[in-house]
Amino acid sequence: MAHPILQAEDVSKTYDGFRAINALNFYLFPGELRTVIGPNGAGKSTFFDLLTGRAQPDTGSIKYADSDAAPAIDLTELNEYEIQRLGIGRKFQTPSVFAEHSVHTNLVLSLKGPRGVFASLFHRLDSTQRDRLDALLKLVRLEDKRHWKAGLLSHGEKQWLEIGMLLASEPRVLLVDEPAAGMTDEETHRTGELLLSLRGKHSIVVVEHDMTFVKQISDGGQVTVLHQGTVLCEGKFDEVQSNPQVRAVYLGRGKH
């Protein structure tokens, strides 16, 4: 098997005595679409915080390896923007787009490119970037609304815009927190199709609650179940679904 692109080993994080993440091991392989499920408070968002530099683990290591040849990079030493620049993009649970900016500008600000102060002062879009913007707008189905203020979009459209912003930065790893929240069934299904189409080109981790959606996007891939900050089990959707421990955690609180 190939070398994992993202590797978290024996990671723990405690907030005020609460063990949000507890001796967690997690391996993501290149091109994989991994679904992470787990009840509320299982540590899913904290896990993303640790991966993206928002928080640092108390113990354990988190490493990123761009390719088999490249040396692994320790993510616990880096901050949010340094990790993003490595090629790890994050979509938040509540859509966070720039409400006062147009859809177009939201994407422009997210495009891959230099991030420095002076680069931003003298920035000009070139024709490759324009084409890229057009393609992205088409992909997230917001071509007709490119001049709309992002704040005026529907909840589902904002989610799509944020996915588009994520893709604009051409990340290697996509961390996607509850992309289907607040979407209609049809929108949810289309989101699933979009994520499946990105599989292979990107390595993706999706945190989700909606089991229909999880079933759709897992599509033969691995599902990780988090519980009390650690991995309860990992496997194909059907295996996970029939796992008695998982059923106990989801259905019968207190039985485990």
């Binding site: 923007y81 993003q84 720039f98 997210s110 931003s120 920035h123």
Partner: protein, 387 residues
């Protein structure tokens, strides 16, 4: 509203033709026509702006530069600094040092030393004053000293991710601490009297109408230049990022931008430019003292911006002029009421006209349209905004 084709937000035209006209006409009027009328019309002509008027407008122009800086930070970047007058005053002090040295032996004590130094028993000019004999050095210092202070303060604050009200309080504490320091005689900058009795600038007599007219023109030109610079800045991708930091700093951070550096850049740039405005302010009012650094001064500048309309570049200019014109009048007509008027104005604008004076035309148009639709003239409506 322009055509959709030109809406491409990141590379807009700097100005449309109408906007160029709207910029150039008042700028030429103020920087060229008024001074010419003042210089060449007979003193009793009703068209001639008085020396006093020009001097007043020059002062307003420097205030407007201060206000533009407050707005760039507050309206665009989301940082409410309650200490911007400190940078204005520091620029004023730096340039004031030069003006003080230029008095030469014409002071009360007929000494080479500034009067307050003689009074305090100085034997010689402190070494750090020597370079301020040079006009270019003093001008550069008016930019660099505020910029440097902003850099140190901003570097510490933004790196530690201090935000919102905490940052506002810190900026206020900074200006207050500086005021206390400058009030002390032993700090070496003239104590509570500050610097005054300036005689000349670049060899020209500061009391002559000619010199004052040139200072006025310089102030208007500075204001116009700063307006163009800030316009360029806010229209660039950089400006969009400023507003993105204001609306959702996390997303910007997670998009790979070191937001602290962006904030630091704007904070330092604004401080330096504000310092330059302060340098032009001092020869026009003839005095600089620590009262210019007290927190009230910075808060007043915030009120100008709120009244004029924050998040626009025209608003702060209108606000600075309007509120100061009101102040000039009120402090003569009813000095004890001025602070109540100022407070009332702030509350009134926040409640009734959150977009400030610049939003007034749109509000009025909407109001007139409503009247037209309803067809008849309504009886006095207490809830309508008064014009």
């Amino acid at each position: 509203m322009s055509a959709p084709a030109s809406l491409s937000a990141v590379e807009p035209r700097f100005f449309t033709r109408t906007q160029w006209a709207a910029f150039l006409v008042p700028t030429l009027l103020l920087a060229l026509v008024l001074p010419l009328l003042n210089a060449f019309l007979p003193a009793d002509s009703f068209l001639r702006p008085s020396d006093f008027t020009l001097n007043l407008y020059g002062k307003y122009a420097t205030y407007a530069v201060l206000a533009l800086g407050v707005d760039l930070l507050w309206g665009y970047l989301g940082i409410l600094s309650l200490g911007q007058a400190l940078f204005f005053a520091l620029g004023g002090y730096a340039f004031g040092m030069h003006l003080l040295l230029m008095i030469g032996k014409d002071g009360q004590y007929k000494s080479d030393l500034p009067d307050y130094m003689v009074f305090l028993g100085y034997k010689a000019l402190p070494a750090h004053w020597e370079p301020f004999y040079s006009f270019p050095f003093a001008t550069a210092a008016a930019l660099i000293v505020p910029g440097l202070l902003a850099f140190v303060f901003g570097w510490l604050a933004f790196r530690s991710r201090i935000k919102g009200v905490y940052l506002s309080i810190l900026t206020q504490a900074l200006t207050y601490a500086a005021a206390l320091l400058f009030f002390r005689n032993d700090f070496g900058f003239g104590g509570n009297n500050g610097f005054t009795d300036f005689k000349r600038i670049l060899g020209a007599d500061l009391s002559s109408p000619d010199t004052r007219r040139w200072l006025y023109v310089a102030s208007v030109v500075l204001l116009a230049g700063v307006f163009l610079l800030y316009r360029w800045l806010t229209r660039a991708k950089f400006g969009h990022l400023m507003q993105a930091i204001r609306d959702g700093e996390n997303r910007v951070l997670f998009s790979g931008y070191a937001t602290a550096r962006y904030k630091l850049f704007v904070f330092v740039l604004v401080a330096a430019i504000t310092g330059l405005a302060g340098a032009l302010y001092v020869p026009q009012v003839g005095i600089i003292n620590p009262s210019e650094m007290t927190p009230e001064k910075s808060i007043e500048a915030v009120v100008w911006v709120a009244v004029g309309g924050r998040g626009t570049l025209l608003g702060p200019i209108l606000g600075a002029i309007f509120v100061n014109a009101l102040k000039s009048w009120a402090t003569r007509a009813a000095p004890e009421l001025w602070l109540y008027i100022l407070g009332g104005l702030f509350v009134g604008v926040v409640l009734l006209l959150p977009g400030g004076l610049v939003s007034l035309p749109a509000k009025l148009r909407a109001f007139v349209a409503r009247l037209r639709r309803s067809g008849d003239v309504p009886v006095a409506d207490a809830s309508k905004p008064s014009a």
